[in-house]
Every structure is written in C-alpha cells, then in structure tokens.
Symmetry: C2
Subunit: 372 residues, 2 copies
C-alpha cells in the first residue's frame, strides 16, 4: 500500500519570519517528494524537518512573488549537494513547473552565481491569461523570455498553454498520477495545482480463486494487472470477476495566492478532493483589505471548499501578524485559531474538516477504500 | 563619540544550515547599517538579531556565489516593508556594491517577481580582472550585462574599474569614511572591502583656552572645525595650538571567499586594521582541499593578518561540518575552536587577537585614542 503525506515547511505570507517560514510544502509519495512553492529559507526548513533534502523530484511554483520563489535557486544547489552523482545515468531530471518567466529567473540566478547541479533540470512554463491579474502586473515576453544558451544542466522545458476544452493545464500524466493546473486571480498570474492519483485495482478475492481451483501463482499477477486468463478447464476468467472494487486514487489540491478562482474549472477539478490547501492571509473582518491585495479570508477559502465538496480544507499563508498557535498568548494580538473558527462557521452543515497548517505539520493522506 | 560595531548574521559556508546561517554581517555606525554579503535567510537572521531591519543603508557583495547573494532580493523587499515611505524625499538611495553581473541579477529577480521597493537603489559594479579566478569561471559581458529598462526603483549605478596606481577600487568617499575594495583569488572573482573611518580632530584643550581668556562659545566650534580665530587682543590662534592630537579613524576589513589576496595592495590597504574578517572554511590539516576549492585555512588567514599587522583577526565562513561552539560535544565531530587554536599558533609572537565568529556575535570596535 502506498503512503502519501504532506508536510508544511512554511505557512507565512510576505517574508520568512523566525517563527513562520515563507510558503513551501512537500507532498510525499513512496519516497518521492514534490515541492509546492519555495520561499526564501525553504532549504533550511527542509533540513529542520523529517524529510530528506535529496529527494525533491518535482517543483511546482504557483506564482512569481518572492515569498514563493526566492528560495528555489538555493534549494536546487543544496539538493544537488545531497545527491549522489554516481552513477550519472541514475540521475533523473528535476521537473519544475510554474508561470512564464520562471525559466529566465532560474537561468539567470543559477548562471550568474556559477551554480552547478549534479542532475539535469527542466522548467515547464504555464502561459497565464491576461484575466488572471490586474493589467499593470502583466509581464511582457520581453521581460520573461530567457536568452542565450541553456544552463549547463538545463534541459529544454515545455511551454504549456491552457487547454480550452477543460479550461485547465495538463502538466503531467504517468502510470500513477495526473497533475493539472488551473487559473486563480491574484495581483500577478497565480495557479492552483491538482494532483490526481490514478485509481488502482482492488484486492484479489483469493477465497473465490481458491474455490475455483486457482492457486497463488503467475495467474494472480495477470488478473491483478487487468488481464483475463484461461483456466485449465477452459473457462475464461475476467479480472472483474475476481477483483474487489477499484481503490479510488487520492486527490490533493494546492492553491497559490488568490482572491478567487477563475471560472468553474477549478471547482470541477478539485471536486471531492481529499485535501484542499487554500490561503487565508487575513481574517474575515479584513476581507476588503485581503481582496484589495489579491488575498482570501477563511470564509472565502471555505466557499471554495464547499463548492468543491472537499474532505479537508487546510488553511495556510497567514499574515505574519498571526503567531503560531504554540506561541500565541491569550488576549495578546491576533489569534490564528480564530481563522479556523471562521472557516468552520462557513462550512457548517458540511462534512469538511478544517485544519490550520503550521510549519512542520505533517498530514497523512490515507487511501480511501471505496468511492464515496 | 561615535559607536561602531559588527554583528555576524551568518558564519557558515555553502548553504544556510539551521545552526549556522549563510554569509552575512552588519557593520553599524551611529545607527546606519552596512551589510556585507547576503546569503539566503539573512533577512530572517536580521529579525532574530538586535538590529533593525529598516536601517540597511549600503550593501557590499564580495562575490556572486549563491551562499553570499541569494538572500539579497528578499532582504531588499523586507527592508522596504520596514521603511516608512513618508516623506518620500527623506528616502535615501540604497547603494549596493559588488561584482559585474550583480545589477542584472537584481533587475531580473526583482523584476520578474514584481517586487516594488519604497526607496531607490543603485548597483555599483566592480569590474574584476581575469587573474582573480580560473579561466572557466569568467563570466562574459554577454551573461552579466543587464538589459531593458531599469527597475522602477533603480537608479543608474556606476561601473568601477581597478585604479592601476593603487591597485584598488575606490567605492565611496564622504566626510566620515573612505571605502575601497581589493582583489582576491577564488573560484569566481571575489573582493575584499576596506572601510577606513576618517581621522577626527582631537579634544579642545579647554583649560588652555580659558587661560588665554577664550570662553565657551562660537570660537570653540570654529577651532574644532579646523579654522584659525583672531582673539580680541589681536592674537591669531590656530587649531593646532588648542586641539589635542587627532583621533585616528578606525579601519575594518572584510574579505570574501579566497585562497589568497592578489598582490601587495590588499596588505597595504589593510595595514594596522582594527578588525580583519577572513574566511577559514577548513582546518589546516585540509589545506590542499581548501585551496582546491578556492578557500583558506586558519593558518592562511593568519598569514594575511600577520602581513597586515592587524589588531584583531575574526575567522568566519566555516564549513557546515563545524557546529557552533555551544552545540559542540566533546570528542564528537569537528571542533570549531580548533580553528581558533590553529590561527593563534600561526600568530605567535604578534599582538593580534583571534576571534571565532558565531551567528549573532556582536563585536564592539572602540575608538583608538592615539595613533599606534
């Protein structure tokens, strides 16, 4: 059975404070780590956590604000220091996904600092649409386009445009996962990511197989992998007859900074998610200020969670005025647990659980046994 | 009387570890802070220190390696958040000095992330010479030259070339300080900085003045500022007659990563320094490895200190294998105090004091009463 969990490395907004790092979280599946956003100091937070620095296999950057990005060049250097370079043919390419301009950012920062990596990397850029942010925030291709030769360890990445039929971006598809991105509204183009684990075949009904006279052996494997087999008696056995119901894949959605999602596609894509990670920079009482800065409040995050019928809503990206719960003193300053209360209130009547993220919190994401 | 002190914000090499930050130190004089190098996480170290984030007035970057630079874009953003934007005419330009390529680095990182600052900034670039690093590390102007429009808060900086007569770079001169840079040898072009405080007039001999019948008043100020005055009796009094000896200015030298200094100019410039900050990445027993990576050992740092007859040698930029002294357990792993012992041994027979820098160590740099 495959494990999946999520560890928050930074849950603060604007800058990395001593008690709340800048945005970063790691989704871990069977030993491979995927990093979502990488504010300054993420590599140091990673060292303080239980995760192993050398395992970052993919990086997803939601938008190009510094508190989500400034840690990336240094993190790549440190991942490289922690990667065994032998044998070189075993070194996989680190795939990095993010808005147009990210390739230029990395090529310049790694290039000017003479940073060499032991592994190859590729930046796959999402092409934003102009309605994702105010007009004045739009970066021209003049500003975002990389120039000159590739970095010595850089492989040519893809440019990914919006698929008009689904109103989403297809980032990757393999035997285990499909990852798509969707558009958010923020001060600069910002994206959400949806990681959909593929359904996997259910357990073999071994009792039934034994009754049919099929003993453990190669036929079990073929049935499990979806093949029909012919028994000695000539009977053809299909997988559907001897497999329990499919085990549904898990779905994890991580949204970048936003004051809203664009259109209905994000809600369709996130529908029924096991975990939805949504920002809640300020409390409901400051909604006007939050929206003015392109941010959300707990009530706004809850509205997305409700519309998408998610199991768990995790709030993060808190204004640095909210101290971690463990450091908060009764009656002094802003209380982060109030943000949780506001989201819970807005989710009354649903089964959605609300979780407050804190730096180094690890959430386990268990397999579901059946489709809900 | 003017104060001067130095606070180390990061004393580790290669990357910011939880117990030893990446390179950064602040020289503070009368409330103005000058930052030397800015590894990732410097802004957070600054918040943890006693210093005030909003006071960074000048930045000096010794070389373009990430562990000395990756914190700069984020630091500027956070200094800006801590700067009162009113009245705008009171906002001074933050002057940033460093090797060619630094202007491009900042324009791209601040530009792509949409980072706005409330104050103007200017990057003054030092033009390295090819003998400062191995040939393959040389960055072509193709790679280092900034393009397109200035960042909205950017003012055009200077390009500073080596002054062949002194073999140094003149960075700034004002009524209080002269700052020069000099060349080091490292894997990439690296520089040292020498901050020379100007001598100031000695104390007024008020007893003598009273004997001559000159009472406290405007004449005292004129004499102190170096003017001669004519007494009622017609006698002309020169400042030299009534001022004690000049108070010599302090001299502080901070060297970037290096395995050696280039030529004799650095030694002449650093001669008699109150404080010389020099890297000691590895112990003497690993000198070969240190030099191979362009670094120094305590003995090598001590040789520079000895040749320049400095009062105090401060070692920093330790390999992350050296835990801070407070965390080191007897008999376990590498002992940073051994680096101090090695430098002290190499300085036997001199008056030079050796100090091990640790994160958040503050060294006071007192005024000297007389020329040595």
């Amino acid at each position: 059975m495959s494990m999946m969990d999520m560890t928050f490395l930074g849950t603060g907004s604007a800058y990395p404070a001593p008690h709340r790092g800048a945005s970063a979280l790691v989704l871990r599946t069977d030993g491979e780590c995927w990093l979502f956003d990488c504010g300054e100091g993420t590599q140091t937070q990673l060292m303080k956590s239980q995760l192993r620095t050398g395992r970052i296999a993919k990086v997803f950057i939601s938008h190009l604000h510094g508190d989500h990005l400034f840690g990336l060049p240094g993190l790549l250097c440190t991942v490289s220091l922690n990667t065994n370079p032998d044998p070189p043919q075993k070194l996989k390419c680190v795939d990095i996904y993010g808005p147009r301009g990210l390739r230029h950012f990395l090529r310049v920062t790694l290039g000017l600092t003479g940073s060499q990596l032991v592994f190859p990397y590729a930046v796959h850029e999402l092409e934003p649409t102009p309605d994702q942010s105010p007009e004045e925030a739009w970066l021209s291709t003049e500003v975002t386009t990389e120039r000159g030769a590739l970095h010595p360890q850089e492989q040519q990445g893809r440019s990914i445009t919006l698929d008009p039929s689904s109103d989403t971006y297809l980032l990757l598809e393999d035997s285990k996962f499909v990852v798509r991105a969707f558009r958010l509204y923020h001060r600069v183009p910002s994206f959400g990511f949806c990681v959909q684990e593929r359904d996997r075949p259910g357990r073999l009904r071994t009792e039934l197989l034994l009754e049919l006279g099929v003993k453990p052996g190669p036929m079990y494997g073929r049935l499990k992998s979806g093949e029909s087999v012919t028994l000695e008696c000539g009977r053809v056995l299909t997988p559907g007859e001897v497999l329990e119901e499919d085990i549904p894949g898990r779905k994890v959605c991580v949204l970048g900074d936003c004051s809203s999602v664009l259109g209905q596609a994000p809600l369709r894509l996130c529908a029924g998610a096991d975990v939805l990670v949504h920002e809640a920079t300020l409390g409901d009482e400051q909604q006007e200020r939050a929206v003015e800065h392109g941010h959300s409040t707990p009530q706004m995050a809850a509205a997305v969670a409700r519309a998408a019928c998610v199991r768990k809503l995790v709030l993060y990206h808190f204004s640095q005025r909210y101290k971690p719960e463990s450091l908060h003193k009764e009656g002094e300053g802003d209380d982060v647990t109030e943000l949780k209360r506001q989201a819970e209130e807005a989710l009354q009547g649903t089964d959605t659980e609300v979780v407050l993220a804190e730096d180094f919190l690890t959430l386990s994401i268990p397999l579901k046994r059946t489709k809900k």
